[in-house]
């Protein structure tokens, strides 16, 4: 039997407003618990919400970026349920008339194919606070700093058929919201998180299978793993004669599995109704036009420009333009280095490797674009070799400093003085009589490969600082002289 997955995603993007969606309290991350929660956020008796118009502008930006219908009249509704970190006992959201209606994004898969994914809607709502269970044995702490942070909930159509498509979609949305500057995209801090609705069906069937919703996954990798795991779990379950139960599940990254959180039977009846404390938001064409005219460059346009302007391959352009921070970083380095190919290799190679290994993002990279640019300049002008550059990069990553400071401090400057190199080459030839004999007795066409050994010896002797081009030339000249 051939199975097919059906995936729809709900993405919660925290909007990058300075203050909360319905109060003047700061939205900055990481403050002491409850220091950024005002009377409105605490839901003190008598307090009322006042809508932060900046959140509206940001939502409209997003709607325009995905070619969506913008709700000319949108209405806040109350979603009623009890939870200790939900101070009012309801979440102010938009059910009936969202600010952003139907739209779409195009995703590119690794094999180069593209696919259009529908966005059903995107609506404004407030985030809840946080319940802290670990710090207080036998009790729960409540931190309301996050309560009231504006969220844009972006709901996709169930258009995705694989974990790869789902991740490509999430990356695309991430790329759009960060490019628009409406979300910092920081998944580790929860600024951008994803609920995955997954079901499976036999290929060719029209009906959807029963879906599960896996909540609040906060990295691209976990999204992929959670979906893959959930697809396998559902297929195994059905093949063993079982039934998928409609339920909410949690992804446990440590165990790499999802587990049941609550079933549909226990689900709340949210008793939605229009919030009587807030007026409907009515916007006109002028309002939308001003925002449209001031939209920044969007990821698709940026990718096309990267191909055109930096002569990048389609794949490189996609990777480098996809993430707003990545794109900005790349452009800064490329301009400094004056070599887009070299820059692409470094950003996608050494830098990305370090970011992945350290589980951090380019926005938090310890090596800034200016630092990397300075390093590439020194490769370009032959001050250091590519290999030495990796050592400099390591030092930059762990200790900081500019390329020039590190090269100077560690004495890594490349030896280009041919006299000095010749002396070392002479020493190597004198000390490696056996290898010299092999070289001279070998067929001339095989000698090219054998030169690598001598190269290695010279580099060892110079601590890698000798200019590789110069060494090769000198070695070849001196060894070949011995052959005659």
């Amino acid at each position: 039997m051939e199975w097919e997955a059906v995936i729809g995603l709900e993405i919660h993007a925290q909007l990058a407003t300075n203050s909360k969606i319905f109060s003047g309290a700061s939205t900055a991350f990481g403050a002491e618990p409850n220091t950024q929660a005002c009377a409105v956020d605490l839901a003190l008796p008598g307090t009322l919400p006042v809508f932060n118009e900046e959140a509206l502008r940001m939502a409209v930006k997003f709607g325009l970026a995905i070619d969506a219908n913008i709700g000319r009249t949108s209405v806040f509704d109350r979603k009623n349920y009890f939870y200790p970190d939900l101070p009012k006992g309801y979440q102010t959201s938009q059910l009936f008339f969202p600010i952003v209606g139907e739209g779409h994004v195009d995703i590119t898969l690794e094999d180069g194919t593209t696919k259009r994914v529908g966005v059903t809607r995107a609506h404004l709502e407030e985030d809840a606070g946080k319940s802290l269970h670990d710090e207080f044995p036998g009790m729960t702490g409540i931190d309301l700093n996050r309560a009231g942070t504006p969220l844009l909930e972006i709901v996709s159509e169930p258009d995705m058929r694989s974990a790869e498509e789902a991740v490509a979609y999430v990356r695309k949305i991430h790329s759009i919201v960060t490019s628009l500057g409406i979300c910092d995209g920081n998944m580790a801090e929860g600024s951008f998180r994803c609920d995955c609705n997954v079901s499976v069906r036999l290929k060719g069937e029209e009906e959807f299978g029963t879906r599960t919703e896996t909540k609040n996954i906060n990295s691209f990798r976990f999204i992929e793993k959670a979906i893959l795991g959930e697809i396998d779990r559902q297929i195994d379950l059905i093949e063993d004669g079982g039934r998928v139960v409609q339920e909410t599940r949690l992804y446990d990254a440590n165990k790499n599995e999802t587990r049941s959180m609550r079933s549909k039977e226990e689900a709340n009846d949210y008793r939605y109704f229009p919030c009587p404390d807030l007026l409907p938001i009515v916007i006109d064409e002028d309002y939308i036009d001003v925002i449209r005219d001031n939209l920044p460059e969007l990821p698709d346009a940026r990718k096309a420009r990267f191909i055109e302007e930096y002569k990048l391959s389609d794949y490189d352009a996609m990777v480098l333009s996809g993430d707003h921070h990545m794109a900005t970083y790349f452009e800064t380095v490329a301009k400094a280095a004056g070599d887009s190919k070299l820059t692409a290799n470094w950003v996608m190679g050494e830098l990305s490797k370090h970011l992945n290994q350290n589980d951090t993002t380019i926005a938090d990279s310890p090596v800034s674009a200016d630092q990397l640019g300075g390093l590439l300049v020194r490769i370009k002008d032959n001050t250091i070799s590519g290999n030495i550059a990796k050592k400099v990069f390591e030092a930059m990553w762990s200790e900081g400093g500019t390329a020039d400071e590190i090269i100077e401090a560690k004495g890594l400057k490349q030896v280009t003085d041919t006299g000095a190199i010749e002396k070392i080459v002479d020493d190597v030839i004198a000390n490696c009589t056996k290898q010299v004999e092999q070289y001279t007795s070998a067929e001339p066409e095989k000698r090219g490969k054998m030169i690598g050994f001598f190269m290695g010896q010279v580099m060892k002797a110079t601590g890698g600082k000798a200019n590789p081009g110069a060494v090769t030339g000198i070695l070849k000249k001196k060894l070949d002289a011995l052959c005659d």
């Binding site: 008796p45 008598g46 009623n80 200790p84 409540i142 008793r271 939605y272 009587p276 007026l279």
Partner: protein
């Protein structure tokens, strides 16, 4: 001194007949001596009041006094007052000291008013008799075996018993006008959005409106001058200029067109009430007004629509009282659900719980269209009725209540009978228009209220119409026996 109006007290302060400290102390002494009979205050803020009075006297001495400087008033205990218990007459908030002031309170403070204390009310403003108060009912000064009305019953009783010259109230379905009528005072419910709701603990957000409860229309105008206005903290407050509500009080009423809705004079209306109201209408005709019959055909639907919309909003508004952050928390909860159930079960009174349940039911999945949505449609019809009627006439008049003050306990076992007490007031909250109740007669020694209704933002007109009646008659000067 205690029978003086705000306007007269302001004159006395201005003339130097007494200081604000003397005036305030006199009221505090009187409250201390007399309020045991009426239970009109939940909290008396003596120390703070004297501090405010002293500051007001200093302001006056410095030549900076305004119209309200040094005048003592009471606030309904639904308005948040910084550093003072704000209970909403509920066990749930018995321990709640508000860390901030309601906008209305701030405005009175800024105007130099002195707060005597916080008045009794129905719990969370849910009731028409004051009997749902956690602190026990306030009593009607005309007959302490009778209710003062509700929910702003404490404010009405305090003004009628001369324990405050004026007080703030709030009106969700008649909660200013009905107790004003039952206690023989003047009570104005402004247009929805005229007075900020910020810091006024929400019962039904789309219906709640704060307003003045006073001896006279002139005093109500003085109060509204302070209370009214747009507030950045309340998105539903209106960006509409605030006129000087005292400016038009003396305008003659010649040519005033009064509409009498036939639905406000049903066959089962108490004949005594009908008679007093008709007499008042005759008085207006004598003042030059003309009268015509109008119709508000959907009046009968107002109570059922209201008892869907108000409880629905209340069920959500009162969710914040969960025992987690402030207010009542049950003893030793075993888990979260226990905490919620017992805190709310023990903290709320019967009527509040009844309305939360009705509201939660009306909003629940599968019932929303049949109840809440239908009620909102009726609400639009009712509003249109008023708009149509007020296209034909300047003001609408009728009785404020179907009966005079009833006995304590008379209707507590029959919630629907209690709800019917608001039959003439409730539709106006659904429409959002302003209305005022003034004393217009008596029956068996109990006051009868005349309700005057006007178009959106026609408060100045209502106050003018009410004031002219009070110039021509003495009903507003009647005081209960022994006061």
């Amino acid at each position: 001194m205690f029978d003086k109006t705000l306007a007269e007290l302001a004159q006395g302060l201005e003339n130097g007949d007494f200081s604000s400290v003397e005036l305030t102390q006199a009221y505090l002494d009187r409250i201390n001596a007399e309020d045991g009979k009426y239970n009109s205050y939940i909290t008396v803020t003596g120390e703070q009041a004297l501090d405010q009075a002293k500051a007001a006297d200093e302001t006056r001495a410095a030549g900076n006094a305004g119209a309200f400087t040094g005048l003592p008033i009471a606030h309904k205990d639904i308005f948040c007052t910084e550093g003072v218990r704000t209970s909403c007459a509920s066990k749930m908030l018995d321990n709640f000291i508000s860390p901030y002031n309601a906008t209305v309170v701030n405005k009175f403070n800024a105007a130099g008013a002195v707060m005597l204390g916080k008045t009794n009310m129905d719990e969370f403003a849910m009731g028409s008799s004051n009997e749902s108060s956690f602190y026990g009912p306030s009593k009607n000064p005309w007959d302490t075996d009778r209710v003062p009305g509700g929910s702003s019953g404490g404010s009405a009783a305090a003004v009628a018993a001369q324990l405050a010259p004026a007080a703030t109230g709030t009106d969700t379905g008649g909660s200013i006008r009905q107790p004003a009528a039952l206690c023989g005072i003047t009570g104005l419910k402004p247009t929805y959005g005229r007075v900020s709701r910020f810091g006024m603990i929400a019962f039904a957000s789309s219906l709640d409106q704060g307003g003045p409860m006073t001896r006279t229309a002139e005093d109500a105008a003085m109060m509204l001058n302070v209370m009214a206005g747009f507030d950045l903290n309340d998105s539903t407050s209106m960006q509409q200029d605030v006129p000087d509500y005292t400016a038009d009080l003396s305008k003659p009423l010649a040519g005033l067109k009064i509409g009498l809705p036939k639905e406000f004079f049903p066959a089962d209306l108490s004949p005594a009430i009908a008679e007093q109201v008709q007499n008042a209408i005759k008085e207006y005709e004598a003042l030059g007004a003309t009268v015509k019959e109008v119709s508000l055909p959907n009046t009968a639907l107002a109570i059922p629509a209201y008892y869907i919309i108000a409880p629905s909003e209340a069920s959500s508004n009162l969710s914040r009282f969960d025992g987690v952050r402030y207010g009542y928390r049950c003893e030793s909860p075993v888990d979260l659900e226990d905490l919620y159930k017992r805190s709310r079960g023990e903290g709320f009174g019967t009527e509040v719980k009844r309305r939360i349940m009705v509201g939660a039911y009306a909003l629940s999945e599968g019932f929303y269209d049949a109840y809440y949505k239908k009620a909102q449609q009726i609400r639009r019809l009712i509003k249109q009725d008023y708009v149509n009627a007020l296209n034909e006439v300047d003001v609408i008049m009728g009785p404020t209540t179907p009966h005079p003050a009833f006995k304590l306990g008379e209707k507590t076992s029959d919630p629907v009978a209690m709800y019917m007490e608001d039959i003439f007031t409730i539709s106006l909250n659904l429409a959002g228009m302003p209305g005022i109740s003034i004393p217009c007669g008596q029956t068996e020694g109990l006051p009868v209220g005349l309700q005057i209704i006007g178009n959106y933002f026609a408060e100045a007109k209502l106050l003018n119409v009410a004031h002219q009646f009070q110039v021509a008659t003495d009903w507003h000067k009647k005081t209960p026996q022994g006061i």
